[in-house]
Symmetry: none
Subunit: 152 residues, 2 copies
């Protein structure tokens, strides 16, 4: 079972964000509401159910420590990973550092991405959206074979 879909969410003055109701039941099943939030390369936040995160973390730790890229990834992802618990209303408190990192203001976007979620500041999301559409359109040349064959 995969997470999908886009949601308008609001981050209140205390930095809290409500997980949309449609995901809650599943989250309670998978991980009892225990989530891990961390940062992503393109300045959004990633939210994993705890067990899923542990798999990712193991993979990251297995990377060769001498490789610079690997070390950077480890610092970025593992370094910022914070465990969150959903409260009785299905909300989580996003740490101030991570909110700043993603430039989160009041209005934000949460999207399901398979085993994880991404959280974006609404403005950033809207701006990026147009770029992506253009990039996907023009996306020629360096497409992996798998993409060329994709039929939707």
């Amino acid at each position: 079972m995969q997470f999908r879909g886009i949601n308008n969410i609001s981050v209140d003055a205390k930095g809290r964000m409500a997980m949309p109701a449609r995901y809650r039941e599943r989250l309670l099943e998978i991980c009892g509401g225990r989530l891990v939030v961390t940062v992503d390369r393109d300045h959004c936040l990633l939210v994993y159910p705890l067990p899923e995160w542990e798999i990712i973390e193991a993979k990251l730790n297995a990377l060769p420590s001498l490789n610079l890229q690997a070390r950077l990834l480890q610092r970025l992802l593992i370094g910022h990973a914070t465990e969150l618990d959903m409260d009785a209303q299905g909300r989580v408190l996003l740490p101030a550092m991570l909110r700043d990192f993603a430039g989160l203001k009041k209005k934000a976007i949460l999207i399901g991405q398979g085993k994880k979620f991404e959280i974006w500041d609404e403005e950033t999301w809207n701006e990026s959206q147009e770029e992506w559409l253009a990039a996907v359109q023009a996306g020629d040349g360096d497409l992996p074979a798998a993409l060329e064959e994709l039929s939707l």
Copy 2:
């Protein structure tokens, strides 16, 4: 069995849209009325029966996470994919975000496209229609191999 045909539909004040009756029986068979809508590159919406969508989603998820194009596609398609259930009257509620994305107003067009449907704002559809005819006319030279061999 393929979906085909063009339909005039209306989106009411609450954002609901009735699936044309001729498709309903088949939809109930295939997926019990469980549909998934998502966005398309050229600002229309795509509607899949849930099982069909899951195939697409699996393909998207299998793409390499480090590839930029792949990530963008995942964000656009999986990110916007929302599950819908038909109500007793055969209607579905289109999420506000997706209506905005496609610029849907009251009058819209739904067309069958094989395993999926496309939903267009009526105005956008009419305008695009003209362009396409022109583009297909002029569309010479850069046809992919598969298209060169197409016999209609």
